[in-house]
């Protein structure tokens, strides 16, 4: 940890169940999550000194619109757009501000309403040469999948097994968009989206919101019986690589996690539970390797052996992940933090990871030519 920054803890969490809320507005989605986080922290709205809001498609000043409707107008509001890393980026900026001594109590929230875009694939940058030639996000991951299967001898059944695990976990999470289990056969028989990926291997269209309140660790005990320490926070951006790139090793995640491990003095072996960016089945397998949970080509074995299931050595996406809990883009980073904080507090009931003391959240984001991804934000938490 940086020597001149003070320790920071999470003292409040809130989220709404992810799903389709076509008749809501963005502030209406965010309000319940924000109010729950404040209530958990035992704080009145007037005690919050700044707001950091993460969202990708909610228009101008989403943070102010939520502050207006929840008794917090007038204080500094920072709106963060970083694709799927939007609210993880907001959390990091809030952490920097509190750790630096600028504020004592800060609210972070993420929100997204994808149903208003009409469903289907996400609209990407129309000036990008790959996008104008037919690139869509599922195809980008599909090509990673094809290459991974080719290079490491994995099968489409191995990919489907990721979705089966996600749904099994999600079935235990009351806040998940999908709460039904599935089978390898059902996953492979679902509609083709971008070969080899089928519908059940892709995160759903959905809406959602999640919020957390942070403060200096020295104040945390007066607000929470189980505060959770922020052990490390890291943000990386895509590095332009000319020429050939290995699409089975997401460089941005490997670099961002490596820097975080160095910063915290903790490594993959210290992690008891983690939430990673499983926007598509292949992503989870690639991230096992990029985050250092196993070596190159070993991800399928890790999944098959149950290491990453609840009850295994390092459960991944106990919430159901993006595949089952849902992926309202800008809300996902904050929702991952809510899940890991609650896991470390021992509050997750049926999906609780027993004895978890160190947890990690990982989101990436953005399809842009020349990069693996535009953004990646990784946080580590501990009790």
């Amino acid at each position: 940890m940086h020597a001149n920054l003070r320790p920071v803890s999470v003292i409040g969490t809130g989220m709404i169940r992810f799903g389709k809320y076509r008749d809501s507005t963005v502030p209406q989605l965010a309000q319940p999550a924000v109010r729950e986080a404040l209530r958990e922290a035992g704080l009145e709205p007037r005690q919050i000194e700044a707001i950091y809001a993460g969202t990708a498609t909610s228009g101008w000043m989403p943070g102010q619109r939520v502050a207006r409707d929840t008794g917090m107008s007038g204080i500094p509001v920072v709106n963060c757009e970083n694709a799927c890393s939007s609210s993880a980026t907001a959390f990091r900026e809030a952490w920097v501000a509190v750790a630096a001594g600028l504020y004592e109590y800060v609210l972070v929230f993420g929100v997204e309403q994808l149903t208003k875009l009409g469903g289907g694939t996400l609209p990407l940058d129309q000036d990008d040469i790959e996008v104008t030639n037919g690139m869509v996000m599922p195809a980008l991951y599909a090509m990673r999948a094809q290459r991974y299967l080719h290079d490491f001898g994995a099968s489409e059944q191995d990919l489907a097994a990721v979705a089966v695990k996600a749904r099994r976990h999600g079935a235990l999470n009351p806040d998940a968009q999908f709460r039904t289990e599935t089978t390898v056969e059902e996953v492979l028989a679902s509609r083709r989206i971008a070969d080899p990926l089928t519908l059940l291997q892709c995160c759903p269209t959905g809406d959602g919101a999640a919020a957390v309140v942070i403060c200096p660790t020295e104040r945390a005990a007066t607000h929470s019986s189980r505060p959770v320490r922020v052990l490390g926070s890291h943000l990386a951006s895509g590095k332009y690589v000319p020429g050939f790139r290995d699409m089975t090793m997401p460089e941005i995640t490997q670099r961002c996690s490596g820097e975080l491990y160095e910063e915290t003095g903790l490594g993959p072996k210290d992690i008891d539970v983690l939430e990673c960016h499983d926007a598509f089945t292949i992503a989870e397998l690639l991230y096992y390797e990029a985050l250092g949970l196993c070596g190159r080509g070993e991800a399928v074995g890790l999944l098959r052996d149950g290491v990453t299931s609840i009850g295994g050595r390092v459960p991944v996406n106990p919430s159901g992940g993006l595949l089952s809990k849902g992926h309202p883009i800008g809300a996902s980073g904050a929702a991952q933090i809510v899940e890991i904080v609650r896991q470390l507090q021992g509050r997750c009931e049926a999906r609780q990871v027993d004895g978890a003391r160190v947890g990690l959240t990982h989101v990436t984001g953005g399809g842009t030519s020349g990069f693996d991804h535009g953004a990646c934000s990784i946080h580590m938490f501990g009790v």
């Binding site: 009409g118 469903g119 289907g120 694939t121 609209p123 040469i129 790959e130 104008t132 030639n133 037919g134 690139m135 869509v136 599922p138 195809a139 599909a142 090509m143 990673r144 094809q146 290459r147 080719h150 509609r191 083709r192 989206i193 971008a194 070969d195 080899p196 990926l197 332009y240 000319p242 020429g243 050939f244 790139r245 699409m247 030519s369 020349g370």
Partner: protein, 146 residues
């Protein structure tokens, strides 16, 4: 999923953006070639060309004629896309001998596997914007087919 656009407005991807005249050069035999750029300062090679080197920020970018064949790194047939695009279509990345990876539409994908040799087909088209400069588009095709 969104409902499809009326048939008359749907079109294959790639017809929206054509290659600019500067993206295409011609080999000695007159056949069209993709034209990228090489940085005279650091040697970085890119496609499409740019005025500034993305690796070292130099402005010494020279035109680079690219081979008409390469190796298919990965590809995917897309079944769900923005409403204006006709599906299915196949897209992929091709590694050219010059060390440049080019993204584009793939034809004849059923006959292809990763690491297959493919050709780059470039054809002049009518510029949808009605400009006077020639416009082109390109596909990757199984090697030997034209």
């Amino acid at each position: 999923m969104s409902s499809p656009a009326p048939a008359e407005t749907r079109r294959p991807p790639t017809t929206g953006r054509t290659l600019r005249a500067s993206d295409v050069t011609h080999a000695v035999d007159g056949s069209p070639r993709l034209c990228g750029a090489e940085c005279a300062a650091c040697g970085t090679r890119i496609f499409p060309a740019a005025q500034v080197c993305p690796s070292c920020n130099s402005e010494e970018m020279k035109p680079l004629s690219l081979s008409g064949h390469g190796v298919l790194y990965a590809f995917s047939t897309v079944h769900v896309a923005p409403a204006a695009w006709e599906t299915p279509y196949t897209i992929g990345y091709v590694d050219l001998p010059e060390g440049v990876r080019v993204f584009g539409k793939v034809e004849g994908a059923s006959a292809l596997v990763p690491d297959a040799e493919v050709g780059v087909r470039i054809e002049p088209i009518d510029d949808p914007k009605g400009g006077s400069a020639p416009a082109f588009q390109y596909w990757f095709t199984p090697r030997g087919t034209r």
